[in-house]
């Protein structure tokens, strides 16, 4: 009798062990198993992989993990699940039957607690970035918009771009540590007269660019309004000023950073045809305004919209600025 009970216990114990040995569990799922593959799709049963390792294997770039996540959005990339991996970018413009993808570009200025409209506190900034993280928004570098705007490269769903204007030192002191904490990229637009002259210092700029998260781009030389002629300024003087305000900071930043700037944020968000032509003549590819709303793949690249983030607005206003999809029937 004792032997019989011992045998039953052994067998029952064995059931648990054998279950682990024969079938996949999360801890030990074995290698992912390709079910089908051609030049368009891979269909596979997920093993010991996540979206990042699969992206590295199939795209050679783990940063493109979102392609796999977005293609299987109702179907998580988890051990045992069969998923599809699209090998071709079949929807580079983000268009669906009901509508199309839009990318909000948020525009910050300075960080602190002076209670100014343009100033966002560290706490607010952290709360906003945390909201992006918790709600599956993907913060992408501004440079990623280039392929999307050409209709050549898809962007992750719920993409958001962060930009910070002027080059206040509070960017380095307060915003940069928080951006690093979240691993979020941002573009800082600097007006070069302000550099080392009340604004960001050369070593601060270097530290931020070296992190790989911050891209420094021009925001004019003196921060004068480029679309409004000054009192008594004639046409030639105006043209000269526009040229100087675009060319000088572009060259200065190129010299300092060893990389030619590609984007430009208009001071006060104002531009006209002449200013746009000047950007084009300097090889700049995107011009950013402060006209609110998000950008679609067909947005005009020299008048991209940005939403201003004011320090005295609440989280609901912030949330409402994150429009990442628009119905085409509106």
């Amino acid at each position: 009798m004792k032997i019989r009970i011992a045998l039953i216990l052994c067998l029952l114990l064995g059931t648990g062990c054998s279950s682990r040995g024969f079938y996949m569990t999360e801890g030990d799922a074995g290698p992912s198993q390709v079910i089908a593959k051609d030049n368009e799709f891979v269909v596979l049963r997920v093993g010991n992989d996540d979206a990042r390792t699969l992206a590295k294997r199939f795209f050679g770039d783990e940063a493109r993990y979102w392609v796999i996540e977005d293609a299987n959005d109702s179907h998580p990339v988890e051990p045992g699940n069969v998923i599809i991996i699209p090998l071709r970018d079949s929807n580079p413009t983000g268009f669906g039957y009901e509508g199309y993808q839009t990318v909000p570009i948020l525009c910050y200025h300075r960080f602190g607690n002076r209670g100014d409209r343009l100033e966002v506190s560290s706490e607010q900034f952290r709360e906003q970035l945390n909201y992006l993280k918790e709600n599956d928004y993907r913060v992408i570098p501004l440079a990623d918009l280039l392929g999307f705007l050409k209709g050549e490269r898809a962007l992750p769903k719920r993409s958001v771009v962060l930009t910070i204007d002027d080059g206040h030192r509070s960017i380095y002191r307060e915003a940069f540590p928080i951006l690093k904490e979240f691993g979020y990229p941002a573009t800082v637009f600097i007006y070069t007269d302000y550099m080392n002259n009340g604004g960001l210092k050369t070593d601060e700029i270097a530290a931020m660019t070296e992190s790989g998260l911050i891209s420094i781009q021009p925001h004019s030389k003196s921060h004068g309004n480029l679309a409004v002629r000054r009192h008594g300024e004639d046409h030639k003087q105006y043209q000269r000023r526009i040229r100087r305000e675009v060319t000088f900071p572009t060259k200065k930043l190129a010299g300092q950073l060893g990389q030619k700037p590609r984007f430009y944020a208009y001071p006060f968000g104002d531009a006209n045809d002449q200013v746009i032509q000047e950007l084009q003549a300097n090889g700049l590819l995107l011009g950013l305004t402060v006209q609110p709303h998000a950008n679609a793949a067909f947005s005009y690249p020299y008048l991209l919209h940005r939403t201003m983030i004011f320090g005295d607005r609440d989280m609901d206003v912030f949330k409402s600025s994150l429009v990442t999809y628009k119905s085409r029937k509106k």
């Binding site: 032997i3 019989r4 045998l7 039953i8 067998l11 064995g14 059931t15 054998s18 279950s19 079938y23 079910i35 089908a36 593959k37 051609d38 799709f41 269909v43 049963r45 109702s74 179907h75 045992g80 699940n81 069969v82 998923i83 599809i84 079949s90 929807n91 413009t93 268009f95 669906g96 039957y97 509508g99 199309y100 200025h109 100014d116 409209r117 343009l118 209709g151 002027d166 302000y194 921060h223 309004n225 679309a227 006060f268 968000g269 104002d270 006209n272 045809d273 305004t289 006209q291 609110p292 709303h293 679609a296 067909f298 947005s299 005009y300 008048l303 201003m308 004011f310 005295d312 085409r328």
Partner: protein, 308 residues
């Protein structure tokens, strides 16, 4: 002899249970949505459903996944080829209609046709270029309006003090105004718009233009509330409009006039209901006095009603 046989039969039973539980686990994995992804028939069936709904892009995508899973099925190839031709034909027609609409100056119709084209074929370069042209046009137009506002502001403010603190203050002021004056969704989010205006006016009390705008917007809200019979809200809006317009005699006179009109309207409502609903009449008159505390007729009516 019996004992080993019993033990053997027990062992066989447990093995059967074990194997069965393993199979069940496998079945569970295969029959759910997860397993369905490996089944071309499921992809074909969802593709057909999307095609019926008109979502041809999604249908094509799903037929293509089915083809990746089953390269031998000629029916899938035929479905893909048929759908590709159908999409090409539809987008050709839509592009034609879009171009025609542009020629006729019907730009929002043209935009719709191009959007439809891209929803069928997200790689359609001509539709993307056409939409971009329309976007460039509308963005430039709204930029011109914005620059006009900046020019007006620049003339009004004149030459400002130099120095980073002053320049920064000027920038904050300018952006604050811009955000308000360019709010495209003003009618849809009127309360948020008023809130923004009040914040701005509180911060920059000398901005007369936006104070006038705030006062005007609050007056509009007051009228809306009055029509809806929300008299306390009406009063609240009028009081805020007065505060925004303080120092502007013309505006204050307009608001006072509106107060009197609302008071008169409530007085008449009271008169009309005084016979059948005297209590309601009293409420109307008391409300009327809040709008125009000096109105003698209303005071008299209330006194008469109370002495009755």
């Amino acid at each position: 002899m019996k004992e080993p046989i019993r033990l053997l039969s027990l062992f066989v039973c447990v093995v059967i249970i074990l194997v069965d539980s393993g199979c069940a686990h496998d079945k569970r994995r295969g029959s759910g949505a997860s397993g369905a992804y490996a089944d071309p028939a499921i992809w074909i069936s969802t593709a057909e459903a999307h095609e019926r709904q008109g979502d041809l892009q999604r249908a094509l995508f799903e037929y293509r996944v089915a083809r990746s899973l089953d390269k031998q099925d000629a029916a899938i190839d035929r479905a893909i080829s048929r759908l590709e031709k159908h999409i090409a034909e539809k987008t050709r027609q839509l592009m034609k209609l879009g171009k025609k609409a542009v020629r006729q100056g019907k730009l929002s119709r043209a935009r719709q046709r191009y959007l439809e084209t891209l929803s069928l074929d997200p790689n359609h370069k001509a539709a993307l270029a056409a939409l971009r042209k329309l976007d460039e046009r509308s963005s430039k137009r709204s930029m011109e309006k914005k620059v006009t506002l900046s020019q007006r502001n620049s003339k009004r403010r004149g030459k400002r003090q130099k120095g980073s603190a002053h320049e920064y203050e000027e920038e904050a002021y300018t952006y604050s105004r811009q955000a308000i004056l360019q709010a495209g969704d003003r009618p849809a989010n009127i309360l948020a718009f008023i809130e923004e205006l009040e914040k701005h006016v509180k911060k920059y009390p000398r901005d007369q233009e936006l104070r006038r705008l705030l006062s005007k917007t609050l007056m509009g809200q007051a009228e809306k509330s009055y029509r809806a019979g929300k008299y306390n809200d009406t009063l609240n809006h009028l009081e805020r409009a007065e505060k925004a317009a303080s120092g502007d005699k013309t505006k204050i006179n307009t608001i006072t006039k509106t107060r009197k009109e609302f008071a008169k309207g409530l007085y008449i409502k009271g008169v009309r209901s005084s016979r059948k609903e005297p209590k309601q009449a009293l409420i109307y008159w008391e409300q009327a006095l809040k709008f125009d505390p000096q109105d003698k007729r209303t005071r008299l009516r209330i006194q008469n009603m109370q002495t009755m």
